[in-house]
Each structure stands twice: as C-alpha cells, then as structure tokens.
C-alpha cells in the first residue's frame, strides 16, 4: 500500500526553506538597509573630516600669510642685522689674519744675547723678503699665498696678509765672535712662533769686501751677521673659523 501525505504541500515543514515564505526577500531588504546605514555613517564621517580639514587649511593659510606679511614688514631689520653680522665677520677675518709685528720685535729683544747687537730688522708677510737665500720658506710662502688669496676671495674679503702666508724677518747685526753668532741663532729659535732660523752670512771685518748694511758699524774683531727668521704660516680660513668659536686669547688679536 502506498503512503499518502495528506498535509497540503505549501504547509509542510521546510517547504519554504530558510527564506521563508518571502523567499529571502525580507533578509535582503534588511541587509540592504543595514548596509546603506553603514554607508551613510561612513559618508557622514568623511564629510565631517573634509569640512573640518577645509576650515583648518584656511585658518592655517591665513595665519601663515599674516605671519609672512608681518615678517615682510620687518625685513629691513633682518637685512640690517645680517649686514652687520656679515661686516663684523669680514672685519674679524681681517683682524685674525694679521701678523703681530710688535710681539715679534718684543720677542727679538727678549731673546737677543748681550754678546750680539742688531743693526736692522726687516720683516714682511705675503712675499719674499728680497734675500736670495730665503729659499724654500719664501717659496712655500708664495704658494700658500696663492691658495689663501683664492680662499679669501671666496669669502668676500681679501686681506693684505692672506691666511697661510709665511711671515719672515731678516735681522742684521754684530756679534763679539762667531760663537756669539751661534748663540744668537740658538736664542732666536726661542722666539714665539718661529719655525726656522737660517744664517745668511756671518763675516768678520778682515774678510768683508765692500760690506753689507752692517759692515761699517761692527767692530773689526766682531763678525757682522744676517739671519732669516721664518715664522709659522698665518692661520688659514678654516683655522680662523674654528678659532673664532673659542675666545681669542692672543694679544691684539694677531696671529
């Protein structure tokens, strides 16, 4: 015998599935409404961000323009202070690139032994002293001067005594003996800042022919001597800028 289901087909359990009688339409509407609400929320947040950031940009730009306008009004002050700093730096550079002649002469007087006397002192910076035996020191002086001139041109101010040049001093005088001349040379090496002492000549009256600057002044038994002192090169621009950070302790700001 064949079993027959007497319940109507549309009322049997599970006949409508998970969608129920609407066939899932209700869920779809719910999902759509929920999704649209979420989208609306996100849109609102983004819109709020946009408007607040627009206002922020406008405010910042207005403040920046105001600050720039005020700064532009004060620009002459800024330029003037910059001019002062630039000029002060230039003068400082010139002051620092000087050689302290007074100190050098004082040092010569300090170290000179009593057995020797000086007839003349001649010194120069930035060029050869004119003596043929100035030799390597004068050569290095001129090459250093060329480099220093280039660097000082780059910095805007050219010093008459460019950094890097070698100051040289030629001393002519008399001594009581050749031993005294040797002692004098040794003592001249003690001068502050001297890098090299070179004897150019030391001649007694008996062997002098014609004589130099001191020929007629020295006693016959004492030799007339000429010595060349080469000092340490003037500080370069880099050294000057480094030294400017440290308070200048040297007298007169020279060398």
């Amino acid at each position: 015998m064949r079993a027959v289901n007497l319940i109507p087909a549309d009322q049997r359990a599970g006949a409508a599935g998970v969608g129920g009688r609407s066939g899932g339409g209700a869920y779809a509407v719910l999902a759509l409404v929920g999704g649209l609400a979420l989208l609306a929320l996100l849109y609102g947040l983004a819109q709020r961000q946009v408007s607040s950031r627009r206002a922020q940009v406008a405010s910042l730009k207005a403040r920046a323009e105001q600050a720039q306008a005020t700064a532009a009004g004060l620009a002459p002050y800024t330029s003037f202070v910059a001019l002062r700093e630039e000029r002060e730096r230039a003068v400082n550079q010139l002051v620092d690139s000087r050689f302290d002649w007074a100190h050098a002469f004082h040092e010569v007087g300090r170290v000179l032994p009593t057995l020797a006397s000086i007839a003349s002192i001649e010194g120069s910076v930035g060029s050869s002293t004119g003596g043929s035996s100035a030799g390597s020191s004068a050569g290095s002086s001129s090459s250093a001067a060329a480099g220093a001139a280039a660097s000082s041109k780059a910095s805007g101010v050219a010093s008459a005594t460019p950094p890097g040049t070698v100051p040289t001093v030629t001393i002519s005088g008399c001594a009581t003996s050749q031993t005294a001349v040797a002692l004098t040379l040794n003592r001249l090496r003690l001068i502050d800042g001297v890098s090299e002492v070179t004897l150019q000549s030391s001649t007694k009256a008996s062997s002098r022919s014609g004589g130099g600057a001191t020929a007629g002044r020295c006693p016959p038994s004492g030799p007339a001597f000429t010595a060349l002192l080469a000092f340490a090169p003037l500080p370069t621009s880099a050294a000057l800028s480094a030294a400017s950070a440290v308070p200048a302790a040297s007298l007169g700001g020279a060398r």
Binding site: V57, L74, G126, G156, A248
Partner: protein, 254 residues
Amino acid sequence: MTARDRMVVIAIAVFGVLGAGWLLVISPERKHATNLQNEVNSATSQLTAAESQLANARAAQARYSSAYASIVNLGKAVPPGREVPALVYELALASNQRHVDLSSIVYGASGGGGSSAGASQAANASLAGFTQMPFTFVFNGTFVDLYNLFQQLNHFTARTASGGLQVTGRLLTVQSAKLAPVTNGTEPGSKKVGPELLSGTITATAYVLPASQGLTGGATATSPGSRGSSASSLSSTGSGASAPTAPAIARVTP
C-alpha cells in the same frame, strides 16, 4: 529558479548596491579628506616656517639699536670713504702718545715710488669685498717707543678676550716693517739724534667699504629705512643701489 538561486541573486544584488555606493560616494569623499590632510600638513609646515621667519624678524627688530651702534662703530675700522685725514690724525696722535716722530706717509705700497706709483697701485688693489688702501709710513723713535707704537696700531681694531671686536680706530694690516738706525744728518726733521734712534718703515693696508655700500645702507638710528640693504651686497659690486641717504660716518675726533 529555485529558492536557493533566488537567495544568491538577491545577495549579489545587495552587495552590488552597497559596493557601488562605496565606490561612487564614500571612497571619493575619503580620498578628498586624505588630500585635505596633506594640505593641512603642508599649511602647518608653511605656518611654522612663517612663524620662525617672524620670530627672527622680531628678534632682529629687538637687536636693531645694538646692531646700528655696532655697524657705526665698525665704520671707524672700515669707513665708507677713504678718510685719509682721519687716518693721518690717528697716526699722529698715536705717535705723539708714544714719543715717536711720524716722519712721512706715502699713499701706495712702495715708499720710494712716489705718489703717482702709489696711486696706481692703490687703484689696482680693489679686490673682492673691502677696497684696500696701501700706505707706507716712516716713524722715528727708540726701539721701545716703536714697539709700543706698533702695538697701538694693532689695537686700533682688535679682538677682545671674549672674542668680540674692540674698535678704537682704523683697521690696519701691516705687511712689512723695517727698523734701521737713523743716520745723523739724513733725518733733519727728527727731534732725537743718537745711536738709539731708529727709523721704522711700515707698509700697511687700510680698508674702505666698496663704493656700492654705505656705512649703514640708508638706515637711521631709529629705523632701517624703507628698504633694507642686503647682506649679500657686501660681496657684490656696482649695484649702487644702497647709497645711504643719511650716512652716519664715524670720524675720529680729538
């Protein structure tokens, strides 16, 4: 179409609507907000720079009077004009103070070259920045007096122990110095005669501001003027635009 198929179609349709809404409405708005955030960042940095510039300008305004005094003081060391009378006066005063006789002044580096040679040399000495003015001075005095004089010439413009500048006179750079005994009869003007009297010959350079620069660039003690003189004009030449309207020339007075 079965119920399951209908569900799938409806789900796809819902996701499609939501996706289209995201892509067409929300995403552009969020992108716009991101762009605006970049603009905010840019405007913030612009504002920071402008405020820093303003702070510098206000600081410069606060320092103006001291800067003016300083630049006028520097004018004693490097004046806008040659100011040769002031230089001679300074040297004569220093010589008198050190009991040294100022024997001669020659404009130009070579003492024996005469004034015309000196002038041409001086004309050629205009280098970048300050203009150089070479001089040759001859002083007569004792070793100690000449030493003191050289020291005083250095101290016209000198660095202080604290690293600042002390300006009491013209900035001079001594290039060469020669001390030799004064022979009797050759120096008729010398007051002292004796073996201890020396003749000191100095080749020195004084400096002058370029013609294109005024001392203060048109500024007065109370205001920097309508236009500020650029600092870069120190190294520029020939512009002629920064001529001072009321130059505060610092002169050495007795």
